[in-house]
Amino acid sequence: MLGTTIILAFRAINRHKLRSFLTTLGIIIGVAAVVTMVTLGNGATAAVREQISSLGANVLQLRPGQGFGRGGGGPRPPDFKEADLTAIQNQLTGVRAVAPLVQSSGTAIYEGNNWSTTVYGTTSAYSEVQQWKVADGRLFMPEEEEAGKPVCVIGNTVRTNLFQNNDPLGKRMRIKGVSCQVIGVLSTRGQGGFGDQDDVVVMPIRFVQRRFTGDRDVSQIMVAVDDAYDTSTVQTSLEELMRERRKIKPGTEDNFNVFDTKQISDTLTGTTTILTQIVGAVAAISLLVGGIGIMNIMLVSVTERTREIGIRLAIGAVAREVLMQFLVEAIVLSCLGGLIGLLLALIASLAIAPLMQVPFLFDVKVNLIAFLFSAAIGVVFGYFPARRAAALNPIDALRHE
């Protein structure tokens, strides 16, 4: 019975190839749009998450300032002192490592090669906080840190631009007019959310303070939280400690910010997820429109094939068989459309993902849901025309011109 109707459906589709194709076009485009959008959206989300996680997992960033990114108005809040760093290390529980950071930018020169880059002044704890290993050479020693020796660890981008294929270890280069010795090369991290992460020169903080910034302030403190402790608890006690140390009266606002990288990551990925859902929903509407297209053509088809239905009824088809024939025809059409749509989405996603610089993530669930949805559209929008066909009176149907 079902086998028969499927044979009949394929014969009918085969008899009207062009019309069948045009009928399914709506479904094809709908499914392709939904699946492509969601696949690329998921890729974008993954890319954002990847970029954020490169900031370091479970790292609290402590910066002076009020509110998220609000500048201007009132005196600039003071930077941190070295004593703050020691206090965080000694008085907070759940801290794995603490690293200070001062930033400066300038040109690095080696044998006629110039490269404009960012200088980070920090301690050897930076590597531990960021979980960023030295690939070649070594980090600075405590005594080099203490004395602020002119030594530096360079990122891979700086290495390739200044030294090309030469071994940089032990070489002396100039940074902002000051000579320093390269003692290590950091492992490659690639593109991050904030540009090329490997475009960096890391130096002892004392050196940067003395030669570049001119004071002993620390503009940023990075606190790595021990995995065994809850980040938000540590964040709260960090905030309490800093309020105390910066003598902020109860009821007044903090003059510093604590950013949880995980929180930033969640917020950003949440945003891209919502965007993906919105775009997916818009695409889903086109799928619905495709379904209405199928209903429209099936209704026309029933009218056009009234005589055929009359013949079938006269030959002895029962109402249910005629209903099934048209219903199965609609379902087969929409399923074929769904399959072609999935194929198109696969091709489109593979083609567009590299252009958008997001990874291609094949999501079985999305593909399956889109396909089942297209099949469901066939059932829903095929039922009404099919019922109309089945209800025809054979005598009238046979007389139909």
Partner: protein, 233 residues
């Protein structure tokens, strides 16, 4: 020919519409058709012959009276039960051929077998046998558009007889054909009647065609006017 009628109409009436606009198409038809008979139904337009054929073809039900087909009261059956009756015992041939377009002769002929749930090989064998019987076996893969009118009607006849029905109902089967093709079709019907034992009921307005029948039933104003013996007897 056996004595027991395969079809019996007793006081069959048919009324279309309701109230003041009601129209009585059949005013009480009594008719017996014996198994193996070849009946031509004649009469002017509006005499009730088409209505009677629709009832005999189990496509329509009488408003009153009884219609016995092989002893079953068809007037008590519902739509699907009548469809199953048609599937099992009846074959139809129409004036306008009514073949499925863009469909090969064989596929057209196989159609009733599909609804019977026959497998592919049986469908092919029976379909080809039926096409052979109407002399169109070499044309099995042609679509209606590639066949002449006479050939199309033969395909339609093959489709009607492929299920080996008891009764073949033909509604002006030669109405769209020239006289030469018409005679060929009538000879085919006569052959099926004589040699395959199929009871043939045929509506026609051409006395030449009616002459092939054993029995000629004349309709007038919703009643059977008279029953003659045809030249085919």
């Amino acid at each position: 020919m056996t004595d027991k009628p395969i079809i019996s109409l007793r006081g069959v009436t048919k009324i279309y519409g309701e109230g003041a606009t009601a129209f009585q198409a059949l005013k009480g038809i009594d008719l017996d058709i014996a198994q193996g008979d070849f009946v031509a139904v004649m009469g002017p337009s509006g005499s009730g012959k088409s209505t009677t054929m629709n009832i005999l073809g189990c496509l329509d039900v009488p408003s009153g009276g009884a219609f016995l087909f092989k002893g079953r009261h068809v007037e008590t059956l519902d739509r699907d039960q009548r469809a199953l009756l048609r599937r099992r015992y009846l074959g139809f041939v129409f004036q306008g051929f009514n073949l499925l377009s863009r469909t090969t002769a064989l596929e057209n002929v196989e159609l009733p077998l599909l609804y019977r749930g026959e497998d592919k090989k049986t469908r092919y064998d029976m379909g080809m046998a039926a096409l052979d019987k109407v002399g169109l076996k070499p044309w099995w893969d042609h679509t209606p558009a590639e066949l002449s009118g006479g050939q199309q009607q033969r395909v339609a006849i093959a489709r009607a007889i492929v299920t080996q029905p008891d009764v073949l109902l033909a509604d002006e089967p030669t109405g769209n054909l020239d006289s030469e093709r018409s005679i060929e079709i009538m000879e085919l019907l006569t052959d099926l009647n004589r040699n395959s034992g199929i009871t043939v009921l045929m509506v026609t307005h051409e006395p030449d065609m009616a002459a092939f029948a054993r029995t000629i039933v004349h309709f007038k104003d919703g009643l059977v006017e008279r029953v003659d013996a045809g030249a085919g007897a």
